[in-house]
């Protein structure tokens, strides 16, 4: 009996069901609505969303189901398949139920589609057309509410249009963990609302706009800007932070108008954070640098043509090359191809290894590149996840969502070790505090008291806890971790967009493209590149110190704003004063660009294609949607032009050709050809190195060639009873140029203030909110002092870069910790 045999086979993996008369096999536990869709039968729905728990709110998905007890209507989003189930989505009863539901949904629906932002892409419109009755029997006056009310700075709510599907409220509560919107009132009066004076201030609020099946929730930055039929779209990857969420970039008339999350399993599940989602505004900003200019001795700016500016830049770099040296700071904004071009330009034409994509606020590149790397999928399925030193909600928001979701479902055991309570703390099974300067000791204690970490699979997410502390302590802590957990894999929580791609392409001293060290790669790159610098160069801190001491002639700022970002403003000021000339390549005239002698305009997100790399090492395609403003150029073209003018030749001529060169010379990228990255279905991107990729003959073997050893465990800094230790943390919305140039986001950044435990306020005898003098080894500033019971005693916490005052003014880059004296004025 072959029938029996195949039936028992199916039982292992799935069940037999009949959908509209066709026998199909569905995996156990699958919902009927999904099983039908997988087999080409679309059941209309409003409340069901594949990334959220079904609730059966809207009843639109009613279909006739027979499980042996006779056919009956059941909501297909709440029903899992069972053996011999018969589903009929086209029966007379099903049709009547679906038509009836739609007629009811429209009883009070305003149908103001012409002025509704959802019109043209509205599931209610589409499904009414496909499954609804032609006409309504309801002629009574509809229910009226005040037309859109703002429920946050970014989202409007039109209660007339809401069909009470519970998607937004479920998202806020279950996915984002910000239960700030709820159903209120009863029956016909039921509506989604916030609590009074408690707006829907979630970092993820834009997702509710995307998943609302009607136009009830609309986004202020997109409101009335376009209709779906005049949007052009290209898929890309968000480069606002290093999570690399997949986005659909939409524009109209060469202007970016909207980003929508694209659902990919390995990264973002369709979600975006609001900073990424609404960041398109900064690309459109009329403050964008549209062409080059020179600043002459009288400090007056002079607009020049691209040729003249390139000539001036080449002259400045040439002078440095022949004299005291050149340093290149930045590069995390670049795509991989441009990063490679700059790496090659610096090494072969300028002949320097002074190049660093990080601004002394990240982690050691050697450490990051040599640690065994985890993926987000590993982190959401490991037995244990340890998050150290970073507030993911503020720095890598969608990674926070993924880990929170995994912790909530009980899949992973999440342990956190941080200076302060973070967004993740309440979702972790254990959350520990430590004192600045003592991270490595705290990690040691954590390992000693949690032996289970060594038994199962463990993923460590490690970031820089506070820019006020010397990064050595993170390295020492990782040393303790690698010794105690030899099998653990790591997700480095570096924040800047393509910082991983930049490091992979060698934008760090002593590192060459493909995760190869300068020394190990000397033979290989000596054969594929024309020349290599003799010795390992300086990192950003080193370059700035050299410049301050007059030992560096030319600084190139590659999309970097050291004055604002390097956690030691005093040092940067001295460096800028001491350096011969500054060449800046940027999108905006930032504080640092204002000090440059030669300024070149470069492209921003969606203005150039290529690839980007996220924190997992996942390479994915960027989409070009619009043309850059004025004469702004892609960074790799600027590198190629400069090489020419410096008497060299990078031999780079297009993004595709650069990528094939990368694939051919960078050992970690071997086998990751353009065909692989662009392949059909490759929207998930490709994690490098590709397992079992062909070795490049003669090349060193990637990560293995990078040597990193943990620094010795330093003695904890001695305690000074009168001072508070500064914690300079990152907030999602800050004074960063790209946030401030997006009008919708700019005002979301909190003003700078110093937060302490209320006990410290009592000790000082001041009220919360008083302005006080704050003194560090660098300077004295005036700040308002705010009491917050969530702050540990002995610490003073401020944003690294909030509007008003940057913590970098107070920090000495080379000090182990930053101590503050606070005095009332």
């Amino acid at each position: 009996m072959t029938d029996l045999a195949s039936a028992s086979e199916v039982n292992e993996t799935g069940v037999n069901i009949t959908i509209n008369g066709v026998r199909v096999v569905a995996p156990k536990g699958e919902l009927v609505i999904d099983a039908a869709e997988r087999n080409g039968v679309y059941i209309p729905r409003f409340c069901y969303h594949p990334r959220m728990e079904p609730v059966g709110m809207c009843r639109q998905c009613l279909v006739e189901v027979d499980t042996g007890r006779g056919p009956g209507l059941q909501p297909s989003c709440m029903l899992t398949v069972s053996d011999d189930m018969t589903v009929d989505t086209e029966s007379e009863t099903t049709k009547r139920a679906q038509e009836g539901m739609l007629e009811f949904l429209l009883v009070n629906h305003p149908l103001d589609c012409p002025v509704c932002d959802k019109g043209g892409e509205c599931p209610l419109q589409d499904q009414t057309l496909a499954f609804g009755p032609g006409e309504s029997r309801f002629v009574e006056e509809k229910r009226h509410y005040e037309k859109p009310i703002p429920i946050s700075d970014l989202v409007y709510l039109d209660r007339e249009r809401c069909i009470l599907c519970d998607r937004c409220t479920r998202f806020a509560k279950d996915i984002a963990g910000d239960p700030l919107i709820h159903f209120m009132h009863r029956g016909n009066e039921t509506q989604v609302l916030t609590f009074p004076d408690d707006p829907f201030n979630s970092y993820f609020s834009g997702n509710t706009v995307q998943i609302c099946p009607v136009g009830a929730l609309t986004a202020r930055p997109y409101r009335f800007r376009a209709r779906p039929w005049d949007l052009a779209e290209v898929e890309s990857t968000c480069t606002t932070c290093s999570v690399g969420c997949r986005v659909a970039v939409q524009s109209s008339r060469n202007e970016l108008l909207r980003y929508e999350g694209v659902d990919i399993e390995s990264v973002n599940h369709g979600w975006l954070c609001d900073k990424g989602r609404f960041g398109f505004e900064s690309v459109n900003s009329d403050q964008r640098l549209a062409g080059p200019y020179l600043r002459d001795v009288n400090n007056s700016d002079q607009l020049v043509g691209t040729n003249a500016a390139l000539e001036a830049a080449a002259t400045a770099i040439g002078a440095g090359r022949g004299g005291g040296g050149v340093g290149v700071i930045g590069g995390a904004r670049l795509n991989n191809e441009s990063a490679y071009a700059w790496s090659k330009l610096a090494r072969t034409v300028i002949g320097t290894d002074n190049i660093d994509a990080q601004l002394a606020d990240g982690l050691s590149a050697q450490m990051v590149l040599s640690l065994p790397r985890a993926t987000i999928a590993d982190a959401t399925s490991a037995d244990n996840v340890v998050v150290i030193g970073t507030d993911l909600k503020e720095e890598l928001p969608v990674l926070f969502l993924r880990l929170k979701g995994a912790a909530q479902s009980g899949r992973i055991k999440l342990t956190e070790l941080s200076l302060l309570v973070t967004g993740l703390s309440k979702h972790a099974s254990a959350s520990h505090r430590y004192v600045p300067g003592e991270l490595a000791h705290a990690v040691g204690e954590l390992l000693a008291s949690n032996p289970q970490l060594a038994s199962g699979s463990t993923v460590v997410v490690i970031g820089r806890p506070s820019a006020a502390d010397f990064p050595d302590e993170v390295e020492a802590a990782v040393g303790v971790l690698t010794a105690g957990l030899p099998l653990a894999t790591f997700l480095p929580a570096l924040r800047r967009g393509n910082v991983m791609g930049a490091l992979d392409m060698g934008l760090s001293p002593g590192v060459l493209p493909g995760r190869v060290s300068l020394d190990e790669g000397r033979d290989w790159f000596g054969s594929v590149w024309s020349s290599l610098p003799g010795e390992v160069g300086l990192d950003t801190a080193g370059m700035l110190e050299a410049a301050a001491a007059g030992r560096l002639d030319t600084l190139v700022l590659l999309g970097a704003d050291p004055l604002a970002d390097v956690p030691d403003r005093d040092l940067v000021e001295r460096a800028f004063a001491g350096v011969g000339s500054i060449v800046a390549i940027d999108n905006f005239v930032t504080e640092s660009v204002k000090r440059a002698n030669v300024v070149l305009a470069s492209t921003a997100f969606a203005e150039v294609g290529g690839t980007t790399t996220n924190l997992e090492g996942r390479v994915s395609r960027l989409g070009q949607m619009i043309t850059p403003p004025g004469t702004a150029r892609a960074d790799w073209m600027i590198a190629a032009e400069l090489a020419w003018r410096l008497g060299g030749d990078l031999e780079l001529e297009s993004l595709a050709q650069i990528w094939s060169e990368i694939e051919a010379v960078a050992p970690s990228h071997a086998g990751c050809t353009l065909e692989v990255v662009e392949a059909e279905g490759a929207i998930e991107g490709v994690v490098v190195p590709i397992p079992k990729s062909p070795d490049l003959a003669g090349a060193p073997s990637g990560p293995a060639s990078i040597r990193w050893s943990a620094p010795a465990l330093a003695e904890p800094p001695s305690v000074d009873g009168y001072s508070l230790r500064l914690v300079a943390r990152r907030k999602l919305y800050d004074a960063a140029t790209n946030t401030q140039m997006a009008p919708s986001l700019a005002n979301l950044a909190e003003q700078a203030q110093l937060m302490v435990h209320p006990g410290e306020l009592r000790r000082l005898g001041v009220e919360s909110g008083t302005r006080v003098n704050v003194t560090s080894s660098r300077t004295t500033v005036v700040l308002s002092l705010v009491g917050d019971a969530a702050m540990p005693r002995g610490l003073a916490v401020m944003g690294l870069r909030q509007p008003g005052l940057a913590a970098s003014e107070l920090i000495d880059l080379r000090a182990a910790i930053t101590e503050l004296r606070i005095e009332s004025r």
Binding site: P114, V115, E135, F224
Partner: protein, 206 residues
């Protein structure tokens, strides 16, 4: 004799009455619903009818309409409701006067006059902006220097009537579906249409 047969046809036609109209010396009367240059209408209280919904732009087969909407200023609304047409442009080098825009418009904002005699010395002039398209304070189309208007060209500017009733209900076919309009008021029923009856719950407006 082969080819001479062809000449015979031509020769015979020489004596037949000609159907060619000697335009522009001679001008034929225009049909009631002639498709000429557009106008953007206003309600009787002077508010603009256009709500900037871009439906006309979306349906236009020549892609010659450019519309952008914006939030209606609360203290000085341009049109009723939340949104108004902030930019409205029609490129007459492209428009084929098919009237699909008129059919798509949910508010009867865009309609066509019977004026078709206009020419331009440069391409920019061919792009009519909202300032030029919207009717004047009397509800009459504005006349541009390069346009040739004849008597009656602006009569019944909104005289076009939808082919289908607004609600899609058969009972409404043939009824007047127009709202009141600046300069014209509410049109009386014509050509066998009936006025909306009072017991019709939605006033025949759909």
């Amino acid at each position: 004799m082969g080819y001479l047969d062809g000449f015979r046809v031509t020769f015979n036609r020489l004596f037949e009455e000609r159907v060619t109209t000697e335009y522009p010396q001679e001008k034929r009367p225009k049909p009631e619903r002639f498709h000429g240059r557009h106008v953007l209408n206003r309600y009787e209280d002077g508010m603009e009818k256009c709500i900037g919904c871009e439906l006309c732009a979306g349906v236009c087969p020549a892609q010659c309409i450019y519309v952008r909407g914006a939030d209606n200023p609360i203290d000085d609304p341009v049109s009723p409701g939340e949104r108004f047409g902030y930019v409205y442009e029609i490129n007459y080098l492209r428009c084929i006067h098919c009237d699909l825009c008129v059919e798509a418009c949910p508010t009867e904002a865009i309609t066509e006059s019977k004026m078709f005699e206009f020419s331009f010395a440069n391409r920019q002039d061919a792009i009519y902006t909202k300032d030029e398209l919207v009717v004047d304070d009397d509800g009459k189309p504005q006349r541009q220097p390069w346009e040739l208007w004849h008597d009656g060209d602006d009569a019944l500017t909104s005289g076009w009537m939808r082919a289908t009733a607004p609600s899609g209900s058969a009972a409404h076919v043939g009824q007047v579906g127009w709202s009141g309009e600046l300069g014209y008021g509410v049109r009386s029923p014509e050509l066998g249409q009936t006025a909306p009856s009072d017991d019709d719950p939605d006033g025949g407006q759909g």
